[in-house]
Amino acid sequence: MDSYSIQLENFEGPLDLLLHLIKKNEMDIYDIPMAAITEQYLAILDTMKTLNLDLAGEFLLMAATLLHIKSKQLLPKIVEEDLEEEEDDPRAELVRRLLEYQKYKEVSLTLDHKPQLGRDVFARVAPQPEVLEEAEAGFVAVGLFDLLEALREVLKENPEQLVHEVNMEQLSVTDRINAILSALQGKESVAFVDLFSDGLKRNEVIVTFLALLELVKLHLVRFMQNVHHGTIWLFPAVVIDENEELDVGDDALGYS
């Protein structure tokens, strides 16, 4: 049983298997004989089934696709216009996918052939520096993956906190709050109408408005107007001068 399972695994997926069948039978990629290839493809799947091997859904889906193409070909052509014959060919997308897949399959092998660090070439193992003073330079780039992993780990400890937070509406208001704060950052003010300018849908307008109310409630923004009926401006409630040293004493940290 093991040998058969490795056998199928030898193909990355249905595209890989099809590529192999076409090559093996020396078929013309632009004129794949659907009946023949479908038959062979299904025969392989049958073999796998009789061996009680579980098949990945993708293999079954491809079987359905092949059958579909085959049946489409059997239907008489409705219109006799011979323009765009290519596009009419139900096999066109499959051919395109096969050629595209082949391209990446090949280049992935080329890539693997390059000297790999730790496999073919080795760098010096730099000893740990003896002095570890406070770094003045920027941060080591951290990926979003790390950030998400960190959050996930934290939330794993406190799962109950999540329950009422996972709420579609709440989420989009939060998103909108964040977007508004982003828009405000580094600016003195933002015009109220600008927040609604980029073709928002009705529900997005509502969410934006709710976000603004929330921000006002939190004292994070203020609204100002020079003239009656004039432009309404949105100001950040707390402006931190970028050049000014931050006072990060205890009270800045929220405990006074």
């Binding site: 579980d54 002095v131 920027g138 951290v142 931190i240």
Partner: protein
Amino acid sequence: MMPLDTLDLIPLVEALIFAADGPIKAERMAEALDTEQTEILAAIEALEVDYAERPRGFFLQEVSGGYQLRTRPEYADFLRKLGHNRPFKFSRPALETLAIIAYRQPVTRSEVEYLRGVDSGSVLKTLLEKRLVRILGKKDIPGKPMIYGTTREFLELFGLADLTALPTLREFSELVSDEENERQGWDDEGASLPLLIDEDAVEEGSALSLETSGEQPEEA
């Protein structure tokens, strides 16, 4: 492997010393190269002559019975300057705190601490100093605690256009949670694992493929 003549041996010995994670003994090199120790010693001597002829940035030091390449002592000042520019690495607490602030902003310190379960004052201070986090204002609740959010520098560091570009935890979990298939994509031995998919996975897989088979990826 082919037998090696002395001339070939010189750069090879240099490579072994270069890549070793500490001083390496001639004996050990001889073993790895399947040659005599005297050959190794001859190559080392040739290396030393070579380094004397045309000075390199490093020299060969015999240390605790082995050999090691070390940078020349007169370069110490420059190298130390390099060390000072070493980028700051996120500690686990810093990353956790930053993650909470990024995703929960506007958020107070006590909310952060509730989630982390530990005091986060000093971490918060560091993040403020590094300008990844800023004070947004004060919350209108008793005690008027400070509210925190992330900065433009934070977006730059993570290459985000704005905060809405942050992936949500739910999206992420979808990717991470299919633990059954976890090892399928990777294997240390180079052997392929059998294709074992349970019924549910098959269902899921086909649904997914159906959804995606329609859309055509754009040209790169």
